[in-house]
Structure formats: C-alpha cells, structure tokens
C-alpha cells in the first residue's frame, strides 16, 4: 500500500485575535492593556490524501479551509497535531518540500503586473532551478493545456481576470509540483474560463499523477473533479467520503419532475403533493421529503392527469446548503 501524500492527525490551529470595545475610553485602555480572544480556526481534524487523488475541500466562509491549506503548505504553524506532506513537516519550510508543492490562491497576484507573464516565468525558472530544457517543455505543455497562446507575451495588466488566472496557474506549476493546494482557483471567472481551468486540473492530475486538494464555492468544480470530498464546518470535519455518499447522506429531499397531459393542472392543486420549485417548459418541479418520494410519485400518477414523472436528487448545492444550515451539534460526525 502506498503511503499518503498528505497526512493530518488531530490538527488544531488557534488564532489570538485582538479585541476591543468601541469608544475612546476602550481605545486608551487598549494602549496599556491589550485584550485578545482565542479563535479556534481548525479544531482537531484528521484526514489523508493518497497519491494522485483529487479531493474537494468544502465549507462555508470561515470554516477553516484556507487555514488548513496554509498549514499544509507551510504558511501557518499548527497549534497542535501532526501535519505531513510528502513526508515533510510543512512548517519547517524545507527547500526540497517547497520545490514539490504549490498553493494557488484565487486573485492573489504573483506575476509582475507591468511585464508579460513569460518574463515572470523566467524568474520562477531561476528560483526553482528548473533546467532549461525541462522548463521549455513544461511551459509548452502548460501553454497548450491552458490555451495560453499569445497571452504570455502580453503585459499582465492588459489581461482579463480569467486570462490572468490561467497565467497565474501556469506560473505556479512550472516546477511540476507533486501536490497542488488550490484555494478557489475559479473564483470570479466566467463559465468558460472556469471550465477551462477545471479541464486543465484534471489533465494535469492525469498527466503528472499529482495530488490535488481543492476548495471551491462552485459545486460544478467539485462535481467535475472530485470523487471524494471533505466537508469542514466551524473548524471540524463533518464529512469525508465519496461525493455521491454526501448527497445520499445529507439530502433530505428529492425532486419530482411532473409533465402534465393535455389538461392543465392548477399550481395550487399540485402544491398539495409537495413544494413547487419551478414551473417552466410545460413541466413542474416539486420538492418532497426523501422518504415520501415513492409514495408521492404513486399518488401523482394515480390522482392527476399527467403523462410523465421522474425522480431526481436535487442539485448538490442543496445538500451542502443543508449541511451548513444545520446547527453544529446536530451535524453527525463522520
């Protein structure tokens, strides 16, 4: 059995955040005595990532995703617990470790603004000590995979957000890292650019066997790339498993799509069977509790003049929303 690429055991990360009451008096008091509050960003989490895996790391804002990614890449020192990436302790920031990882944070600009990305790439080549031939080959592959073409010879300031993000990703991967930490890599991009980056991540993973830990608020990213997801909420892992299992586990509803026959059905009448979500293109979509889906479908078929009915899982967003809306204590631990 191969050893995991990422291994976290009982990781805790606590911040000490300065705290002050509003007003002049409190401001003067704080000059002499600073008050701080302890914030547990990550609370006793454990998981492993195997070589070549793409894992979605999901959670609402402030859940602890970025803290975990920063800890894994050596930017944050863990308060307690064991963290290992490629058998290195990230917080030691050893050069051999840094040469094998990358952290891409959406909208964080590492490229020099006023000159073409190709020139910034040359600096990366020097910093990572990439041999000339290998550098040219990797760059050519990245240009092809990300469809960068003429973009890398234009000053970065003249690129659109999506084009810049693609160049940022290329720059972050020139040293062919074995582990990729991607923090919202598609944030703010249009649908086409998002799809392109998604395809690229999949291709990079397949070509180089790299492991990827990805956070994203776009479920399309997760659905397209990750078989496995880890869900973190209030600093605790509340789910770690197959994406399909996540839906099964947390989706308390099903959607029933009803196509009426020639005779129209009033909305009020069909609303007796479940919550009407939409009515478009001649079909009505209902949301019903999962355990009642079969019974409701049978009733619909027997009691109403309909030609077709189908049952489906609601979008994955609904499952995630459901989890995040659930109070902490009510969420079952994985």
């Amino acid at each position: 059995m191969t050893s995991p690429v990422i291994e976290i055991e009982h990781l805790v990360k606590t911040y000490h955040v300065p705290e002050r009451e509003p007003g002049l008096r409190a401001a003067l008091v704080s000059l002499i005595k600073r008050k701080t509050r302890e914030v547990k960003a990550v609370h006793d989490i454990s998981f492993q990532v195997q070589p070549g895996e793409i894992v979605g790391f999901l959670g609402p804002n402030g859940a602890g995703k970025t803290t975990t990614l920063k800890t894994l890449s050596g930017l944050l020192y863990p308060t307690s617990g064991k963290v290992e990436v490629l058998n290195y302790q990230p917080s030691k920031r050893e050069r051999a470790f840094l040469r094998q990882i990358t952290l891409v944070m959406g909208q964080r600009n590492q490229l020099v603004w006023d000159i073409p990305a190709a020139d910034s790439f040359e600096l990366n080549r020097a910093i990572y000590g990439i041999p000339e031939t290998e550098f040219r080959q990797t760059l050519q592959e990245l240009v092809e995979l990300l469809d960068l073409g003429p973009l890398i010879t234009k000053p970065v300031r003249n690129l659109s957000l999506g084009e810049r993000m693609k160049c940022e990703i290329a720059g972050a991967l020139l040293h062919r890292p074995k582990v990729l930490f991607l923090d919202e890599p598609t944030i703010g991009l249009d649908v086409t650019a998002q799809r392109r980056i998604r395809e690229f991540i999949r291709e990079y993973n397949a070509r180089y066997g790299a492991s990827v830990l990805l956070t994203s608020h776009y479920m399309a990213d997760v659905e397209a790339l990750c078989k496995r997801v880890i869900v973190i909420h209030h600093g605790r892992i509340i789910f770690d498993g197959q994406l399909s299992a996540l839906v099964d586990r947390f989706n308390v509803n099903k959607t029933i799509i009803v196509r009426p026959g020639d005779e129209p059905i009033e909305t009020a009448r069909i609303a007796q069977y479940g919550e009407v979500i939409s009515e478009e293109n001649g079909q009505i979509t209902l949301k019903v509790p999962r355990d009642q889906a079969t019974r409701v479908t049978t009733r619909l078929l027997t009691e109403l003049p309909i030609t077709d009915v189908s049952i489906a899982d609601p979008p994955i967003e609904d499952a995630i929303e459901q989890i995040f809306a659930t109070p902490d204590e009510a969420v079952p631990a994985n």
């Binding site: 930017l75 840094l98 964080r108 006023d114 040359e122 020097a126 910093i127």
Partner: protein, 267 residues
C-alpha cells in the same frame, strides 16, 4: 550558487523591463532627487560666503564636491524602502514569497541593482549639471578612488539589510510609520546627509561612528574626497565589516522570528 546567480540575473532583468514601462514616472522620481542636494549645496554655499569662505575647514567648492559625490553614493546605496516590505506583510504578499524555495531578500537585491543600472545615466547627468552650477573642488587619489568601490558595496549591503530588518518590524507592529520616521531622522544626521561629519558637533560624530549609519554613506564619500585621514581608513573598513556581520546576524534572527510570528498568526 548557480541558482542564486540566475535569480539575481532574472530579478535584475525584470526590473529593467518593468522600469522601462514607466519612463516618465522614472524621470519625475529621479528629478525629485535633485531637490535635496541642491538645497544643501545652496545653504552651505551661502553659509561659507557669510563665514568668510570656509565652514569647519570646508570651502564652497568642497561642499559642492561633497554633495555631488554624496548623490552618487546615495544612488548606489539606495535600497528597497522598509515601507515596501511592510506593505508585503500587511497585504499577504509574503505568503507567496514564503512558498518559494529561496530567501526573498535575494530577489530584492537583484531588483534593486536593476533599478540602479537604469537610473545611473540620469544620476550622472544630474551630477554633471550640478557641477556646472556649483563648481566642485575635487582632489582625487588613485588609491582612495580604488577603495571607494568596496566601501560603497559594503555601505550598500549594510543599508540594504538594515532597511530590510526595519521593514520586517511589520511582523509585530501594525503601523510602522512612526518607527520608520524615527529611523530616517537618525539617518539624516548620522549618515552625513544633512552636513559632513566634520562640521557636526563632536557628540553627534561620536554616535555616528559607533552606529552603522556613518559607514553606510558618509564613509565612502569622505574616503574618495580625501576628507578622512589615511590612517583612519582601515578602521573604516573594519567598522563596515563589523556592521555587515552584525546586521546579517540580526537579519537571520529577526527573519526567523518574523516568519514564526507570521506563520503563527496570519499567513
């Protein structure tokens, strides 16, 4: 070592490319540098005339030579401003730099040398222009002219590292401007910027001599102009070597502690 050399070369090249994008901005910024020596030269020329031709043994021509040389040395010892480092800390830019398998100071030195190269022809032209308006009295010696080169390099390294360390204070202090302000007031007096060391009160000169400031800028200027007695030159180099050694040590300690602080609280 090969990696380091390649990083210096690439950082140098990038800065030259970047600066060439903003020629007007560069020209305006460099012209702003003229104001300071012109003020000093005008003031000291008037004072020497009123004092009967010399102040502290220096003539108007020697003051002119001092500030023209000072301008060149200042250019060679210009560093990355501490504010730039503070800005990186506050805006999280350091995160990207910490992910790279190389100390970020190397990239900064390379960039800074690139800036010096681009701006040097303009600085030389300004020096030539100032020499026409304020005729200097130079008494250059071949040996001191030769020693001027290592003195400037050592002065640059001391100043660069000191400013870098100062910028790293942002790891602990949120608003660093007060600290930087205090530092630059000390620099104005103790680097021989406001006036040559020889005409400042003895106690200021004594403080400057034991501090790193004198050895950053004043020493190379005094050396090439022959203001510094020949028997004190070895002491000057010794002090430069000592302060460079000390500042490298301070940098290592502050950097390690700063990164620990950064990785403990923000990232």
């Amino acid at each position: 070592m090969r990696t380091l050399w390649a990083v210096y070369r690439e950082s140098f090249r990038l800065t030259v490319l970047e600066m060439s994008q903003y020629r007007v901005n560069l020209a305006i910024w460099i012209l702003s540098l003229i104001a300071e020596p012109i003020i000093y030269m005008t003031v000291w020329t008037i004072v020497t005339q009123e004092q009967g031709g010399t102040v502290g043994g220096l003539t108007a021509g020697q003051f002119s030579a001092y500030y023209i040389t000072w301008m060149l040395v200042r250019h060679f010892t210009v560093t990355l401003a501490p504010d730039a480092i503070e800005w990186r800390v506050r805006n999280g830019i350091f995160s990207g730099l910490l992910l790279r398998p190389l100390h970020p100071i190397h990239q900064d030195v390379g960039s800074n040398l690139g800036y010096k190269l681009v701006a040097l022809p303009i600085i030389l032209a300004i020096m030539f222009g100032l020499a026409l308006v304020f005729p200097p009295t130079f008494q250059l010696q071949p040996l001191t002219a030769l020693l001027f080169v290592p003195a400037v390099i050592l002065g640059y390294l001391i100043r660069f590292i000191t400013h870098w360390v100062l910028g790293l204070s942002a790891f602990w202090i949120t608003r660093t401007q007060a600290l930087f302000g205090l530092y630059f007031v000390a620099e104005i007096f103790l680097t021989g910027r406001f006036a040559p060391m020889s005409i400042l009160p003895d106690w200021i000169e004594a403080i400057a001599t034991v501090s790193p400031f004198r050895w950053m800028i004043a020493f190379p200027v005094e050396l090439i102009l022959g203001i510094m007695p020949a028997d004190q030159i070895p002491f000057g180099f010794l002090m430069q070597a000592l302060w460079l050694f000390v500042m490298i040590g301070v940098l290592r300690v502050v950097w390690a502690a700063g990164v620990r602080q950064y990785t403990a609280v923000s990232g």
